[in-house]
Assembly symmetry: C2
Homo-oligomer: 341 residues x 2
DNA sequence: TTGTAAGCGTTATCAA
DNA sequence: TTGATAACGCTTACAA
């Protein structure tokens, strides 16, 4: 291997390796002109301090890991974008891991990350009703962890969430005000905290308006597009809801497709509202009423929270919770007098 | 730091560090029962070989870097998803870098990555008419690089692209066949190879049908949503095109919004076709005719190509080019007799 | 202000 | 089959 390293650079300049090293660090004492000389020569030879050697020596990686259930979801790509920006501003890099909503992958990622590869983790969990106590089992090597959006409630760690209960309540209320009486709630994972919280808002809103709660109207969907198509179509034909509230955007899309196929008119026969960060919700046919989460901001705040912990030397590691507000944006999919755009 | 390392594990088991190390590597000779003993104790103590120490020793990082212009684009999130899967199958991790179409960030990322942090790079370039010779300037430390989709033609490196010229030609032809006579071409970066290739298909199709080429109908857009809104509205009102071909999906969305505002009816007054990997193109109002690139597959293939290079020990580093086929999917935005869904 | 040298946690070589 | 040891490239006391 004929690549450049600190020794060769030192030889080329007739200096010691420590002096070279100092030129690349901000704190150390070094003659300004020597530093300049070194940096220019370094640039010429394309020298960069080896990341792994530095990290081994310093015992930190300047890297954070981001674990998300999926990538093909506007919410997560926006959140990652926010995280990436904050990370870069702090001189950190980000590793991305996608669990595809598979719990075992999540466990593996987390376990693996405890080998020093990352200084901290930002995660939206993949859930299922599994044992997530594994997160507590890393003893002294415990990595700072920040949850965002999808969390495990029994794990005490800082988190950034949105006011899901309230949003769900308002969303359901909105459907009721628009005249819906049989409102189906479509969810991917009932047992996941986010599913439960959102569902409770739905249930309480029904109660407020004295609408009967029908267990069957809670439709548990899957992660497969094809399966969902079948599930939703049969729900629409058999249960005959006049309103649908979906907990993730892809279920709203699936419902649109199902309605197209079944010749159900939105919003006349069926009103739809969904959690979604889709920027082109106004362009759908009909435009989709959404509960829009501040996705980028959630990412930004989660990253800031992690950097807070990292810079406090593990001192005040008290769990913090930040709750951001989602917005309901009413559009034609829940309107009684839809406007042409 | 009281964290576990190979030495402590060795002490705990009354073995040498070399034996421990061997238990974690596949090649070395080691007694099966010793190995088992070590691995179980390791699990108990949550020991994992330190990634940075291994990498320093082995001179490789088992990490690849992915550089993309943006994340809030279905094409790139799908491509990354493909890359991530292949990487994981190969035991590699991925670092994500977003340039926001900023050339200087791209240069910085690449320069930085030459510190051993990654074993290879997969990149879709951010372009602009800049000097990209910097990519050749890393001498012995040159990292394997694979381009996908947006490339620099003058850099000789393996690449995965789609048949953009042909797709553009067919897209333009399709608009013409549907009756468009004044077709605007909306592009973000004329000078980028992908912009040029796609534009040439447009120009040649016009020629085939003896339609006049009007320079003004090439509309150079920006990366700002607000700016584009202004640019597109003035283009629509002043140039009065009856067809629009957009080179990236967000320009199609911007055109939809502009048409809504200006009361231009799609497809009656204006037909639209766009490059896009949007899975819900059929749900738009009207459903959007797209040239759909096999995004996930492009990512998968780019990753495979990189791993080919990595496993061949830099031997046969001859530039390869893989061309995948996009599909034109006709929908209502270019139809003369739009169907209700 | 600069140089010397030890050590970060691992793995490969060699010897036992 | 296992153990001792040097080396990977860097940073930081400490010495000069």
């Amino acid at each position: 291997m004929d690549s450049i390293n600190i020794k060769k650079l030192a030889e080329a300049l007739n200096l010691s390796t420590s002096t070279i090293s100092r030129a690349f660090r901000d704190n150390s004492d070094i003659n300004a002109s020597t530093k300049e000389l070194i940096l220019s020569k370094a640039k010429e030879l394309n020298y960069q301090p080896n990341h792994y050697a530095s990290n081994l020596r310093e015992q930190k990686s300047k890297t954070i890991a981001v674990i998300v259930p999926e990538l093909a979801n506007n919410y997560f790509s926006q959140a990652i974008h926010g995280i990436e920006r904050v990370a870069r501003e702090n001189g950190y890099h980000i590793l991305i891991y996608v669990t595809d909503d598979d719990y075992s992958k999540e466990v593996n990622f987390i376990r693996h990350l405890h080998n020093g590869r990352a200084d901290g983790i930002i995660m939206s969990v993949s859930g299922e009703a599994n044992d997530h106590n594994y997160l507590n089992k890393f003893g002294a090597r415990q990595l700072p962890l920040v949850f965002f959006d999808r969390i495990y409630e029994d794990i005490e760690t800082p988190r950034v969430v949105t006011n899901d209960y309230n949003s769900s309540f308002l969303a359901t209320e909105h459907l009721i005000e628009q005249g819906s009486k049989r409102i189906a709630y479509l969810v991917v994972n009932k047992s996941l905290s986010i599913g439960k919280t959102r569902m409770q808002g739905y249930i309480d809103a029904l109660e407020k308006y004295k609408l009967p709660f029908d267990e069957n109207l809670i439709v548990d969907c899957s992660n497969s597009y094809e399966e969902n198509s079948v599930i939703i179509k049969s729900a629409l034909t058999e249960l005959k809801p006049d309103g649908v509230f979906t907990s993730v955007e892809r279920l709203a899309f699936a419902t649109y497709y199902a309605c197209y196929d079944l010749n159900i008119s939105i919003p006349r026969d069926l009103k739809i509202i969904s959690f979604s960060s889709l920027e082109i919700a106004p362009l759908l046919n009909p435009s989709l009423t959404t509960i829009t989460q501040p996705a980028t901001e959630i990412g930004t705040e989660a990253a800031k929270m992690l950097f807070d912990i990292l810079s406090s030397d593990g001192d005040k590691k008290r769990p913090k919770e930040l709750v951001l507000q989602s917005k309901i944006i009413m559009r034609n999919s829940t309107s009684n007098s839809p406007q042409k755009p």
